[in-house]
Subunit: 82 residues, 2 copies
């Protein structure tokens, strides 16, 4: 079994209202040292397949075709044995 | 500067309709090897503070009081130098 650990985040320059809202809340709560917050999606996909190269290829396709919005989001992933 | 890398995920047993929807889509798209998908939040908080113990303490408070829903979500985090 292999697991793809995928991070999908907004591209630089794309407005992140959720991250901004969290940062404003944290500062209001008194955490004055906070300088930036970002919120991303972390997606785990488990495969009943032990061919790392094939799982990498499928994960890239999944990100390009379903998991990430190519207009506004970038992604990175790693594959690990589980 | 320190960065808290926080993962907020649904507790085991809590229904994950978004993860289920993604899994169904992937299987419909032909990825028959997929056995499970989960979707979590990945939150980065950057601090203008280099005291690791203090940043750990603040991050735990933030998770308990704002970032995670204690009824349905669990969290884990790591602190790194940036």
């Amino acid at each position: 079994m292999l697991r793809a650990k995928i991070f999908v985040q907004l591209k630089a320059g794309v407005l992140d209202p959720q991250g901004k809202a969290v940062m404003n809340s944290l500062i209001t709560m008194g955490y004055k040292d906070v300088v930036q917050t970002t919120i991303s999606k972390y997606i785990q996909v488990d495969f009943d397949n032990s061919d790392v190269e094939e799982v990498k290829r499928m994960t890239k396709e999944m990100c390009d075709n379903l998991l990430a919005n190519p207009n506004t989001e970038s992604y990175r992933f790693e594959i690990e044995e589980i």
